[in-house]
Amino acid sequence: MSRKKTPRSKGASAPAASAPLAANGSRPARPIGPPPPARPSLGGGDFYDVAFKVMLVGDSGVGKTCLLVRFKDGAFLAGTFISTVGIDFRNKVLDVDGVKVKLQIWDTAGQERFRSVTHAYYRDAHALLLLYDVTNKASFDNIQAWLTEIQEYAQHNVVLMLLGNKVDSAQERVVKRKDGEKLAKEYGLPFMETSAKTGLNVDLAFTAIAKELKQRSMKAPSEPHFRLHDYVKREGQGTSCCRP
């Protein structure tokens, strides 16, 4: 928020330029590019080997920004955040099997009319996290419409994952876990239930995406194939175990 910003003079406070990409990108998951001519620059803490663009999509109020902030900062934005208008992004560098993977995560406004503004960015996305809110049936019913949108505008080989968020609100839940699983199966999507509030499965969702993208772009022929579906199924935590 603008009023949270410290007044200070320009120029002196230039944000650090992102380090250029240092990976040999290969399709299908070609990392963000093209690499700038002069490389490499040392970005200090911002150093990475490979970078990918991930987008968060889903209805207004399903928790896209909260999920992102939980992943980025490990915090929950209870009543301190504002509706996302337009499009915004945050970066996070993950260590995936010794490789520094930078995820450039794009957060989008969920309201339907903003789709005509944001879908221009789908085509550059390497992965899409599609969210619904387990306490809001309409957001679940709209998943099909989102998938249609994605099919039309995203790359055909985009990594896609379905997330049912807000599972901490057990009392208000109206979408059962098995409904989410069924829908995911129907469309062949990896699926998890998450909670930006408790952090359940949040890191896992992003890590899984990072592993898949890294594997796709730099897999050595001898390396075993990373299976996103299996990984998510194996590592994902249920929600029933933690609650009386």
Binding site: T6, K10, A17, F81
Partner: protein, 339 residues
């Protein structure tokens, strides 16, 4: 300058509009700005009192325009905005209309869309908290609901919550906020908020064209990296700089917006870009460009709202409404052709 600790003791933690100052707020720099700005405000307040003395309404005129560009004092803001925008005339011609809208037919979809944003509108403002008395959340909800019923083609669009919220803070009147929102969305701005958002997309392209003419190096940078203008400026247009620039600066911009119309938005955008042209041109990637466009909305340039408002009328050079209209027509045609 006083040491920062002292300034922190003197400047209230909550600003006059109810916003909590952030942890990293630069109290010393703000106090320094305020010491000169208060003198200006006092001088303007005396002038405005004389101008408005004895008159019931505010009509557009050369004098009023000059006065408005120098800033409308908070106590006269509602009256001036209502007068110059035509909102007062609409309100007078339609007595009881606002209240009839509130009693109108229910629409779950509209109500749900508005409700989703209630806790997400200015959580850092004490007047918008659930436990505030009176709580502006309910008032804001009413304004947005009434507007959605009044203009069914637009309904509710995210961003309107921030605009209506600022109107409420400035006017402290629910009904006046509604009529000012109607003036903005219905007359001053082209179709920014309708389902196709065509006016918004058009104006983003118009800004791109203006930058191409006035700041070609920046346009070349954007082109070179394939950055669409919508990525960096959509919030500037949709939120009319709310939550982008400091509160006082936003109100000063709106003073002129209500009087002179939507070209003011281009003046502000062009000034921000021109003043930081060198800084923007150092960008080396798409992300870097995005970050720099965020950075240029901070700092002393925009905190010193009085100087900034002088700059928006000199820095971008001439900018006639005829030019804007012509560019809007060509950009709109291009967008429609793209489908």
């Amino acid at each position: 300058m006083e040491p920062e600790g002292r300034a922190r003791d003197r400047v209230p933690r909550i600003d006059p509009y109810g916003f909590e100052r952030p942890e990293d707020f630069d109290y010393a720099a703000y106090e320094e700005f305020l010491s000169t700005y208060l003198v200006i405000l006092t001088r303007r307040a005396i002038k405005w009192s004389k101008l408005l003395k004895g008159s019931s309404g505010v009509q557009r005129s050369g004098t009023v325009k000059r006065y408005i560009r120098k800033g409308v004092p908070l106590e006269h803001r509602a009256r001036v905005w209502m007068g110059v925008s035509g909102a007062q005339a609409q309100m007078d011609q339609n007595p009881g209309y606002y209240h009839r809208l509130l009693q109108g037919e229910r629409s779950d979809r509209l109500e749900e869309a508005i409700r989703t944003d209630m806790n997400r509108t200015f959580p850092d403002n004490v007047k918008f908290r659930k436990n505030a008395d009176p709580c502006l959340q309910k008032t804001l909800y009413n304004i947005l609901l009434a507007y959605g019923r009044h203009n069914e083609g637009v309904g509710y669009c995210q961003g309107m919550n921030f605009i209506a919220g600022y109107l409420l803070l400035a006017t402290k009147s629910e009904e006046e906020s509604f009529w000012l929102l109607d003036a903005l969305l219905g007359r001053i701005l082209p179709d920014y908020y309708g389902p196709a958002m065509l006016g918004l997309k058009t104006d983003q392209e118009v800004l791109g064209e203006l930058v191409k003419t006035k700041l070609p190096a920046v346009a070349a940078l954007m082109d070179g990296h394939g950055v669409l203008w919508t990525l960096v400026v959509s919030r500037w247009f949709i939120c009319l700089f709310v939550d982008i620039l400091p509160v006082e600066t936003v109100f000063r911009i709106w003073d002129c917006l209500f009087n002179e119309g939507s070209k003011i938005i281009f003046r502000v955008a062009l000034t921000l870009i021109k003043q930081h042209q060198g800084f923007i041109l150092e960008a080396t990637s798409v992300v870097d460009i995005c970050e720099r466009f965020k950075e240029i909305t901070r700092g002393s340039l925009v905190t010193d709202c009085h100087t900034f408002m002088q700059k928006i009328f000199s820095e971008p050079g001439s900018l006639s409404m005829a030019t804007i209209t012509r560019l809007r027509e060509s950009c709109r045609a291009k967008l429609l052709a793209q489908g």
